[in-house]
Each structure stands twice: as structure tokens, then as C-alpha cells.
């Protein structure tokens, strides 16, 4: 089979997506489904068009302030700890079980406590996200640092390279594919974390806040509007990470294609 052209790559999923939307609209209208149960796509579209300023405000609050801040903080913390653990072997034995314990913390129980510690605004959401992304990032970075070809490592030894030089010239680049795997997991976790954390207290904006309050008023078209925004955001973030990955780890067999 010949490979798809760029046009076909976009056209196929777009066509299928449209088909699903049309079927959805038809089913809702033909069977007279109550809008509180499932609003038709046109109603969701109208809700989105009519409340763009609100959606934008919510998006900035949840995605930019909550999710992205938490994402970089958690990732940076994981990176620093990974480098320290990697340097001192006794820490691997001492700290990894603690990190494992962190990974087992239930986010739903954690969120109210973070709200108490860091207040109602985005800081508590970023804290929840940071904790959520921390562990997958740590495990992936450590895995990447350990995944060095023994021959490549011996080569650095024959040059009399220092620990920092080996890290910079060999183990860092070799760990990048792992880092990006972690980031792809972490971006979707970050979005979920930031939205769910808002269920436990937030100022009167944010995607999670909007979902709970609009649901209370049975304004499901607005709930769906937020869901659409978050799905599009999640897809775009993932695409962004995958795009950077393709540029940075072009040399990896999985990217050479």
C-alpha cells in the first residue's frame, strides 16, 4: 500500500469525526433525547460560540496556570532528584521507596489538603499536578540514565572523561527518548489533575469549577463545551511534545522512519 499523503492523513480522521457528529445530531433529534442527558453537537457549538470569554478565562486558569505550572515544577523536581539519585548509589535504595510511596498517593484525597496548604487559587492545583507528574518523570529519567550502551560508556572511560562530561555528552542525550516518553504521559496527567483538583475548591473560574457548577444548573451544553476544550487542549499538548520529540531525538530508531 502506498503511504498516505499529508492531505489524506488529515482528511480521513476529519471525515470520520464529522460522520460521528452528524450521527450524534441525528440520534438526539430523532429520538428526542433531553438536552440535560445529551445535548446535540449544534447546541454545544452554540454554547461555545456564545461564551468564548468564559472558556478562555477558564482555560488560562486551569491549563496555563494550574496544569503547565505544575508540569514544569514536577518535571524539574524529578530531573533534579534523578540526577542526585544517579550520582549517589545509597540514595537509590533510600529514596526510591519514598518516591514509590508518593506515586501511590490518591490525588482525590490529596487535592483538598493542597487547597488548605496553598489556597483556592491555581497554586494548589499546580501542587497537585506537580505531585502527579513527579513519579512517572522520575522513573523515566532514571531509566534513561541507566540505559546506556556499555560500549559507549567504556569509550568515555578510555577518554578519561569525568562524571559531568559523561553525563553531558553521553547519558543525557541517551536519556532523551525516555524523558519524552515520560512527558507524553505527564501532559495528560497534568490536565486531568488540574481539572479534578478544582472540584475541591477554587475561585469562580477554571474548567473544573465550571464543569461542577454548570452540571449543578443542568446546563450540560456548557459542561460539554469545557470537555471539548480540554480534549482539544490535551491533543494539542501531546502533539506539541511529540513534535519536539521528533526534532530532538531524530536520531533514535523509533523516529528515523
Amino acid at each position: 500500500m502506498r503511504p498516505d499523503t499529508t492531505f489524506e492523513k488529515i482528511a480521513w480522521p476529519l471525515g470520520f469525526g464529522l460522520l460521528v457528529l452528524v450521527l450524534w445530531e441525528v440520534v438526539v433529534r430523532v429520538f428526542g433525547v433531553s438536552p440535560a442527558i445529551l445535548p446535540p453537537p449544534t447546541a454545544i457549538g452554540a454554547a461555545m460560540a456564545g461564551s468564548l470569554p468564559i472558556l478562555w478565562e477558564d482555560w488560562v486558569q486551569t491549563v496555563v496556570k494550574g496544569a503547565l505550572n505544575g508540569l514544569w515544577m514536577g518535571t524539574l523536581a524529578a530531573l533534579i532528584l534523578a540526577l542526585i539519585i544517579d550520582r549517589f548509589d545509597f540514595l537509590k535504595r533510600g529514596l526510591m521507596p519514598v518516591a514509590n510511596f508518593f506515586a501511590a498517593l490518591p490525588i482525590v484525597g490529596l487535592a483538598p489538603i493542597m487547597v488548605m496548604w496553598f489556597g483556592f487559587d491555581w497554586h494548589s492545583k499546580a501542587a497537585v499536578v506537580a505531585i502527579m507528574v513527579f513519579f512517572p518523570m522520575l522513573v523515566n529519567i532514571l531509566g534513561g540514565l541507566a540505559a546506556v550502551d556499555p560500549m559507549h560508556r567504556d569509550l568515555m572511560r578510555t577518554y578519561g572523561a569525568t562524571h559531568i562530561q559523561t553525563l553531558h555528552k553521553l547519558r543525557g542525550p541517551a536519556a532523551l527518548p525516555f524523558l519524552f516518553n515520560g512527558l507524553k504521559i505527564a501532559t495528560s496527567l497534568a490536565l486531568i489533575g488540574a481539572i479534578v483538583a478544582e472540584y475541591f475548591g477554587s475561585p469562580i473560574r477554571g474548567m473544573g469549577f465550571r464543569i461542577t457548577t454548570e452540571m449543578g444548573r443542568l446546563a450540560t451544553d456548557m459542561v460539554w463545551a469545557e470537555i471539548v476544550v480540554s480534549a482539544v487542549t490535551g491533543t494539542a499538548l501531546y502533539g506539541l511534545v511529540a513534535g519536539i520529540e521528533k526534532r530532538v531525538t531524530f536520531w533514535h530508531p523509533s523516529q528515523r522512519g
Binding site: L155, T158, K169
Partner: protein
């Protein structure tokens, strides 16, 4: 008398494994002089690679004494006195060929202009001019291995250690690279330690052939080659060449039966 570059006295190495101790090297005595081309030949498990790694300071003998330029192998490694070529090219895929050759130069803090000059020079030596901007995975196996030799030559260490560098290549490419290696050796007068399990390769290249045998890994014969330094490929059909090859084969067989 001149002091040997590499001097091994009663070198012993025992690995502790889960199945008990493995005697990888036993009572190895060998002197290598400046400008020698020394091949280590023997069946798998005879310790030829292990001995080369000992010289390189990548393994530490458990007994005897081993010096490189009068230093311990560890000190010699840290003072960057040898270039090492592994069985596989081991080029970093995220660096271009030129970038890979620059790697040791960056680590050793060469000035920028000097780096570029040296890269050009060694690329020329291994006949890879014009391939500096390619990535390793865009080249054939033989070209990758030549690039890895260029990388080992770039910082101009006086000793070159090569662990079956052409083992994975086909015979035609291997012949060509053997010929080029001899030219390179004549041009640079480096001391070369070369591990192989091909008899013709060992005889063709070496001034000294060290025959080893396994369990425990030890030297069974050291043959000083009477062949001239200038060696066209068809020297392999001369009676002198065939005689040395016979002696190597006998040595290998004797080691096997013992």
C-alpha cells in the same frame, strides 16, 4: 636496552561470578615495544579481549604487574595515552561523523580550530573525506568502523588498542581495511595491540603474534614475524607467510588439546 611500552609480568585475573571464580588470565608475561604491531589470537574465552581491556585500564588484574609507559593502566587511561577501537563502531547516533570524531577532542579540551583541523586530517586518513556531515546510521558498517578508527586516531595517542575491529565485516572490506591499517601504522609509527580470531589477519598485520588458549586464559606462543614492514596483500601467498600461519595454527591446536 629500551624500556617496553607495555610490560606485563605474571598478570592474573580472576572474575568472581555466581557460578564461582573464573580464571580469565593466568601468568601472562609479555613485553610490547614502541612501534610494535602485536596481534592477540585464540579461541573465544582465551582472554585476549580481557587482556586488551587490562592494558586499557578497563579491567584490573587481580595479580602480577602491568605497566603502560611505566604507569599503571589506570593512570595511563587517565592521561589519555591510548585510543581504543571496539568490536562494533559504537558511534553516538545523535552526533554526525565529524561530531563523533570531535567527541574525544571536546573532552580533552582541544581548541576549536585545532579540532576542525584534526577531524579533516583523520577523515582523510581513513578515506572518509566528505562524510563528516553524515550521521552514523546513514553509512555502511565498514564506513562506520573506519569512522570509529578515525575517532581513536583523532587525539593522536601513541598506542592504539583494537578489539576485533573488523570481525563483523565481510572478507573484501576486511582485506581493504587491513591494507589501510598497515599504511596508517607505517605513517604514524604507533604501537598497536590488535585482537582477532583470524589467522591470516594476524599474520598479515603483525610484527608479533601472541597465541592464547582458554581455561585458564594464557599465552601459549609468541611469534616474531620475519615478514618485511612493507606488505602487499599478495604476500599472503608467499612460503614465509604460510609457514608463520602454520605455526600459529599449531599453537592454537596445542592450546586446545592441553
Amino acid at each position: 636496552m629500551k624500556k617496553p611500552v607495555i610490560d606485563a609480568q605474571n598478570v592474573d585475573l580472576t572474575f568472581q561470578t555466581n557460578d564461582g571464580p573464573v580464571h580469565a588470565l593466568k601468568d601472562v608475561n609479555l613485553q610490547i615495544n614502541k612501534g610494535d604491531f602485536v596481534s592477540f589470537i585464540g579461541p573465544s574465552g582465551c582472554g585476549k579481549t580481557t587482556f586488551l581491556r587490562c592494558i586499557a585500564g578497563l579491567e584490573t588484574p587481580t595479580g602480577g604487574s602491568l605497566t603502560v609507559n611505566g604507569l599503571t593502566p589506570e593512570e595511563a587511561r587517565k592521561s589519555r595515552s591510548y585510543g581504543y577501537v571496539f568490536q562494533a563502531a559504537g558511534l553516538y547516533p545523535w552526533r554526525t561523523i565529524a561530531g563523533n570524531i570531535k567527541l574525544p577532542l571536546e573532552i580533552m579540551d582541544f581548541p576549536k580550530a585545532e579540532m576542525d583541523k584534526r577531524v579533516e586530517k583523520v577523515l582523510d586518513l581513513v578515506d572518509l573525506k566528505g562524510f563528516g556531515k553524515k550521521y552514523p546510521w546513514q553509512l555502511s558498517g565498514g564506513m562506520q568502523q573506519r569512522a570509529s578508527i578515525a575517532r581513536a586516531l583523532a587525539f593522536d595517542a601513541e598506542i592504539l588498542l583494537m578489539d576485533e575491529p573488523f570481525g563483523a565485516l565481510d572478507e573484501i572490506v576486511r582485506d581493504k581495511l587491513n591494507e589501510e591499517l598497515l599504511k596508517l601504522w607505517a605513517a604514524t609509527n604507533k604501537t598497536i595491540g590488535f585482537v582477532t580470531h583470524s589467522i591470516p589477519e594476524a599474520v598479515y598485520l603483525s610484527t608479533k603474534i601472541v597465541v592464547m588458549s582458554p581455561r585458564p586464559g594464557r599465552i601459549t606462543d609468541v611469534i616474531e614475524s620475519p615478514l618485511p614492514k612493507e606488505r602487499p596483500l599478495d604476500i599472503r601467498d608467499t612460503p614465509e607467510f604460510i609457514e608463520i600461519a602454520h605455526r600459529v595454527r599449531d599453537g592454537l591446536r596445542a592450546g586446545h588439546e592441553a
